[in-house]
Subunit: 143 residues, 4 copies
């Protein structure tokens, strides 16, 4: 059972903006990278189109504490904070050494794809559900 995961990452030049720091739109992408790595750690891939199931994002939020700059090395820690019938909610924390950079939350929803391309909310398949559990994030503090 997998409940959390950490990846290390270096800032690429194309992720910076004219203010000299990573553009804020990259943080949800960093969080998704960590989520996809968490799924691989659990022996799953979130993106197999042939599975007939997809995982669109229904909510995301980030708070930004300190900037990241080109070539900074940082860590993204992601944890599952709830698993519902049809939804999974994650928290993430970005740190550079001892410096807290940002924290985020993201909720994804399980959908089945209809033959016409539309998507319909669906229960999380058992083969996914049995691999994950809620993490203990008691030490993450308030933010």
């Amino acid at each position: 059972m997998t409940s959390e995961y950490r990846i290390r990452r270096r800032v690429h030049f194309y992720e910076t903006d004219a203010a000299g720091i990573v553009h804020f739109s990259w943080y949800p992408r960093y969080m998704e990278e960590a989520e996809n790595a968490l799924w691989r750690e659990a022996g799953l891939s979130i993106g197999h189109p042939e599975s007939g199931v997809g995982w669109p994002r229904v909510a995301v939020s980030f708070e930004y504490f300190r900037p990241l700059r080109f070539e900074d090395e940082f860590e993204i820690r992601i944890a599952i904070v709830s698993i519902g019938e049809k939804r999974i909610e994650y928290r993430a924390r970005l740190v550079r050494g001892d410096t807290q950079i940002a924290s985020g939350r993201m909720t994804v929803s399980c959908v089945r794809r209809n033959p016409d391309g539309t998507m319909k909310s669906a229960p999380i398949p058992p083969e996914v559900r049995e691999r994950f559990e809620v993490a203990d994030t008691g030490d993450w503090g308030g933010r």
Copy 2:
């Protein structure tokens, strides 16, 4: 005094992902496009490096209701919902025709750049503050 603004936008191909829809990381960028257009409407540019002032994002959140696809035309409506001594908070709503696509919130903070490149929180300059006022978003509903 400017308090809200609308822009129309078409989905570019590079904004879509392998699920066939716009990747969720684009919505904060769409919101920033609308914010920058709001500033231009007010006779300002948010990005003049020589002003010595910057506007880093300190919080962003989005809820996603319906997907956007390649070449979809949609509208982004942005409104100022609070102006503090050092911060501005916006709400945004994305619609495609009568369909609600997403809603977002974003808080930006005024900073002064020190000679060594670091940034320090600073009061919003009068020449910015006098151009903006809080919008009436009473008709936006709960979400």
Copy 3:
């Protein structure tokens, strides 16, 4: 018969990098925006998945003469320079006022999608071919 097209565009903040200019990877995207607008001008959409035909890029090149900065307005002019049995080649030129910013070339290939998701080179469908012709770019000069 459509052979060339122009779009106007403003630089978004997220397109800039820590050098204060548009990151070079955006120029192929700008060119693709102009290409997709050229197709719409011809009454076509390059991206309908149900058409069974796709247009992957097989070659792209850019030369960069002058930088673009945040909020710069510029124009992208795209022209068809050859139409083969299975390929279309374009040229593009980016200008800001009278200043030449960049020039590019891009070749796209027509493919059919097999049921297993692989792609196979295919002749350009007549309904596409009959809408396009080669442009006169005699005034574009050597670069």
Copy 4:
């Protein structure tokens, strides 16, 4: 003396497009990632603003042979093919296992930043030049 470098990379979901493959605009970014890693391998950083020197891209070209998909692992091999007084030219090759994915070329130019923010072509500083040499790419073949 450093002349070439290899990095391994996995495709992120946000790099794919609605055709189910990596959007072509990512390949120049992959090449830049390899370039920046080559510089770090040589004990340098290409992006220190305080150096007063910058390395804008003056030309880039790519040929695309096979697509990359979500979570594909691939390798980027970059090599220096010429070092002029003011310019460095690289070649890159992307492979997934034994499959050739793409090949690219990129030329970067050394510039000094003037106090007013403009850039002026400048000789490559000795502390950079002495770390690099031209690679032997005799085994790379014609493409």
